[in-house]
């Protein structure tokens, strides 16, 4: 099972957890597993076919846009990070 870490704004969609595990061999499968258990995540991360343009997804520390996108393979020891844009500075 891969580890999925969520940015604070996404945590309410998974019952407040900072980190969950998910099953799958690539990013599409990992996300499908998450959406099944936490349906609210889908609207934020992938409302349509592609990933939202304001959320960056990293496998380990690499942006999947520069790996194989949704086809990026994810091993059981990998960490997926879901990181939306943050603006707060005040």
């Amino acid at each position: 099972m891969a580890t999925v870490r969520l940015a604070p704004v996404l945590r309410s969609s998974v019952g407040g957890s900072k980190q969950v595990t998910a099953q799958g061999d690539n990013l599409t499968e990992i996300l499908a597993d998450l959406y099944q258990r936490f349906p609210a995540l889908k609207e934020q991360i992938q409302p349509e076919e592609s990933l939202s343009r304001f959320i960056n997804v990293y496998v380990n520390d690499q942006d999947v846009r520069y790996l194989q996108g949704l086809e990026t393979s994810v091993g059981p020891n990998d960490t997926v990070i879901l990181l939306p844009a943050m603006a707060g500075g005040r």
């Binding site: 520390d61 690499q62 500075g89």
Partner: protein, 397 residues
């Protein structure tokens, strides 16, 4: 000079060659063409600091004779080089030459007649920029750091940094940049100080509630360091003023609280080719990176679009642990100083995140998007949406 002194001089003359100022000048001119690391002659001024400050030979290294044994090996590590020493009249340099010989330097030379004779022959000299006594004391801990030193401190004093916002991130950043002696600090902020700001915005205080933040920031900074010139802009950054305001600055520190300003700033900074040190905070977590135009990704490479209002925490008064912007703002200040001094590895193409509850820093790799609408090959940063409707309601910080 007593007999013993004369004897020391006589012994020194036996082992150390002397060159006249015009011989030194000629030798330096002949090697002028060579690359610095290939140059065979190193010129060392062994006079006291005050004498050096009144004028020295261009290109000379300053190692006062009192520190010669302690500092020369760091200043001139290659002992095979010809080391030309000079003082005011040619006596101290001769004795310094004998010391270098003892330390294993192959060819120390003393310039006869010293700087006085050099100057008297009409040869060129420079008067270095000097620090006031107060500055030398204030920045003494910087002067001791080789990567900063006196030249670095002058660089900081000549630098201009613009802070977007005098809030949670801007407060600690401005405070420490001012302490470090960044000579000009611009602050743009149209808000006034509110009581709810004081949990983290340490530039302000209880007496200043109701004052413009930019003005309050000015008072705090000027009280801390009179070397710093503060320029305030009591306005909001928008398309109409951004180019004019950022034009005068070397580095921009982004401590805003909303997406439209971040996009407006990104595009204008690309056009003006100014680095932006970016930071943001939310509850217990913060992130920062450096957007250096065309060397690394820009904000639009990272986030091509802002989130919808429901997912944009800045619009929703999400709350933040008061010390967190202190940490992220100071990391921004640190990156700013690195950029100004040109030292270290700036956080270009790397996003650093900090999770206060976990006590964890992590780093994510960022890439420049070749198809970025702002900085990509066919990008047009002057003509992009800035999503002003994302935070249509004014944000209360």
């Amino acid at each position: 000079m007593g007999d013993a002194s004369r004897e020391i001089m006589r012994q020194a003359r036996k082992q150390i060659s002397e060159w006249t100022p015009s011989q030194v000048h000629e030798a330096l001119a002949n090697q002028h063409e060579a690359r610095q690391d290939e140059q065979e002659i190193v010129l060392v001024d062994v006079r006291e600091k005050l004498e050096w400050n009144e004028g020295h030979i261009p290109g000379a290294i300053h190692v006062p004779r009192g520190y010669l044994e302690l500092q020369i090996e760091e200043a001139v590590p290659d002992k095979s080089k010809t080391v030309v020493l000079y003082c005011a009249g040619g006596v101290r340099s001769l004795m310094a030459g004998a010391t270098l010989k003892q330390m294993g330097y192959a060819n120390p030379i003393s310039m006869s007649g010293g700087f006085g004779s050099w100057k008297g022959s009409g040869l060129p000299f420079v008067q270095p920029r000097t620090m006031s006594e107060a500055q030398a004391k204030r920045y003494s801990r910087h002067l001791l750091v080789p990567e900063v030193g006196e030249q670095g401190q002058f660089k900081l004093l000549d630098s201009r940094v613009l802070l977007i916002g005098a809030g949670g991130l801007g407060s600690p950043a401005a405070f420490y940049l001012a302490a470090a002696g960044v000579g000009t600090i611009g602050i743009i902020d149209a808000d006034v100080v509110e009581e709810s700001n004081l949990q983290r915005q340490i530039l302000h205080n209880t007496q200043r509630v109701g004052q413009y933040k930019a003005e309050s920031a000015r008072q705090t900074i000027e009280a801390l360091n009179p070397d710093v010139k503060v320029i305030t802009y009591i306005e909001r950054l928008d398309e109409s003023n951004v180019a004019r305001i950022i034009a005068d600055y070397d580095v921009i520190l982004d401590g805003t609280d909303n997406f439209p300003t971040r996009y407006i700033l990104n595009d204008a900074a690309l056009i003006a080719n100014k680095p932006v040190v970016h930071g943001s905070v939310f509850r217990f977590e913060g992130q920062l990176t450096v957007f250096k135009p065309y060397e690394g990704p820009c904000y639009r490479c990272l986030y091509p679009e802002p989130p919808p209002p429901a997912l944009a925490p800045s619009c929703a008064e999400a709350g933040v642990l008061g010390v967190l912007p202190g940490i992220i703002g100071l990391l921004q200040a640190t990156e700013t100083i690195k950029l100004l001094l040109g030292i270290g590895e700036p956080l270009v193409g790397r996003l650093m995140t900090y999770d206060a509850l976990a006590g964890e820093f992590s780093e994510l790799h960022l890439f420049r998007d070749p198809n970025c609408p702002a900085c990509g090959e066919h990008g047009h940063p002057e003509d992009l949406p800035t999503y002003a409707d994302v935070c249509a309601m004014p944000v209360r910080s």
